[in-house]
């Protein structure tokens, strides 16, 4: 199992990767480049889920790895590299979202008028989840991705984001409730006309 494995992202890094982290911490740029190659796919996947935009995810991932290299001397424990890197990534995602927010607000997106559909249809459900997820704030998407995709526990999310555990819990709860509300709203035809997403 490796740090870059997208199938089980909770496994700790293999010994060789711990060695890479230690070498990178000591200033070995080549080791860090190898490490970056190993983790980049998963970092990009997380950024893509949080930001819902390929170009933004690419920029955020790129920035996260460069910032990680630049500030790696601040990491004291090689075993915590993964959590540390995720926090760096979340920060670069926030920045990227902020950078693009103004343009998105100006452009807006008028959803087309949709026809009533069978709410039990799997593709309909996926479509509803996608729309509901896209409507969440970047902070809410982040906690949902950490919890439901990375499998982080509440304390792990709290530690990674630097927030109290209670805040992490309530943020996830609100995000879940907002998702549920969005799914409910999408099934209500009276709310499907001319919404600005």
């Amino acid at each position: 199992m490796t740090l870059g494995d997208t199938n089980d992202v909770r496994q700790p890094g293999a010994r060789s990767e711990r060695g890479l982290v230690q070498a990178a911490m000591a200033g070995d740029a080549e080791a860090f480049s190898d490490l970056a190659s190993a983790v980049v796919a998963r970092l990009y996947a997380v950024a893509r889920l949080i930001l819902r935009d390929e170009a933004a995810a690419e920029d955020a991932t790129q920035d996260a790895l460069v910032v990680a290299w630049r500030d790696l001397s601040a990491l004291r424990d090689a075993d915590r590299f993964e959590a540390w890197l995720h926090r760096v990534l979340v920060h670069t995602c926030y920045r990227e979202a902020q950078r693009r927010r103004r343009r998105i607000e100006v452009e807006g997106q008028v959803r087309p008028i949709s026809e009533p559909r069978d709410p039990g249809d799997q593709s309909v459900i996926k479509d509803e989840i996608e729309r509901g997820f896209a409507r969440l704030s970047v902070e809410h998407r982040t906690v949902l991705v950490m919890h439901h995709y990375l499998g982080y526990t509440f304390p792990e999310i709290a530690e990674t984001l630097g927030i109290p555990v209670g805040t992490a819990k309530s943020r996830i709860h609100r995000a879940t409730v907002a998702m549920r509300a969005a799914l409910t709203a999408d099934n209500d035809p009276s709310k499907q006309r001319g919404q600005v997403a």
């Binding site: 893509r48 989840i129 907002a178």
Partner: protein, 257 residues
């Protein structure tokens, strides 16, 4: 969005179901591969990015809301002793200078004599557009401190030597007795990078008490590296919300001492 006002009643069963649906959807949605250009770009950027020593990096990723940063108080004994020795030596040095004690004329940096001023000196104007995080800590009534906020941006100058990608670490204190208005003191380290090399420096600035949040008057000195080795750039920036225009001078050596 006001979530509280539209929040449905708690429904654990439906929340679990929503969670399960979300899990499946996230797994399906997550791309399995990064864009092909990403790794080569990261490798190239890493090659041009210098490591920052640990003592220059605020332990920002361990920051917790409500924890007041008192780094000096957390120093161990050896570090405290070292700090005291450094301060004592600095004080002694100042005393000797003030007292007319023996001093040596500082030799000009070697780079000054190696560069032709006519070729390297230039007035430069441009702009800096950046973004920055929003973490802050309230330290008293109307007083806020912001520490170690990392930003990125682009400097566009009429001199290509100063044009490039920028990374910035902001530290500032706000004193806001009125909503959105009041003084501030700021410092930020800046790193500008392009194909020819990099510029690093510290910029210091203020906002006056009658100005609104975001305004800034900042100036500082950058030192060149790479093909800009031996050059300095003095910049004066005006602007707000991390969008600045600036003018300044690129010149050989450093400021006279």
């Amino acid at each position: 969005m006001n979530e509280r006002s539209t929040e449905p009643r708690p429904d654990p069963a439906r929340d679990q179901q929503t969670g399960r649906l979300l899990e499946e959807w996230l797994r399906d949605e997550a791309p399995s591969h990064e864009p092909p250009v990403l790794v080569p770009t990261v490798r190239a950027r890493i090659a041009f990015t210098r490591r920052r020593p640990a003592f220059l990096i605020r332990d920002w990723w361990r920051w917790r809301p409500g924890r007041t940063d008192r780094r000096f108080l957390r120093m161990n004994t050896v570090t405290q002793l070292a700090a005291v020795v450094v301060l004592a030596l600095s004080g002694f040095g100042l005393y000797m200078v003030a007292d007319g004690g023996p001093t040596t004329d500082p030799a000009p940096p070697a780079a000054v004599t190696a560069l032709d001023p006519e070729e390297v000196i230039a007035k430069v104007t441009g702009s800096l557009d950046g973004t920055v995080g929003t973490e802050s800590l309230e330290i008293g009534e109307y007083a806020f401190e912001h520490r170690g906020l990392q930003g990125t941006g682009i400097v566009t100058a009429d001199d290509p030597r100063l044009t490039g990608q920028t990374e910035i670490v902001f530290e500032w204190d706000d004193f806001l007795p009125q909503a959105g208005m009041g003084a501030a003191t700021k410092s930020f380290t800046i790193h500008i990078e392009n194909d020819g090399g990099a510029w690093d420096g510290l910029l210091l600035g203020v906002r006056y008490p009658d100005e609104v949040y975001g305004d800034s008057h900042t100036a500082g000195l950058l030192t060149g590296s790479g093909t800009y080795e031996g050059l300095s750039a003095y910049l004066m920036l005006e602007g707000k919300n991390h969008s600045y225009t600036f003018e300044g001078l690129i010149f050989p050596g450093g400021m006279p001492e």
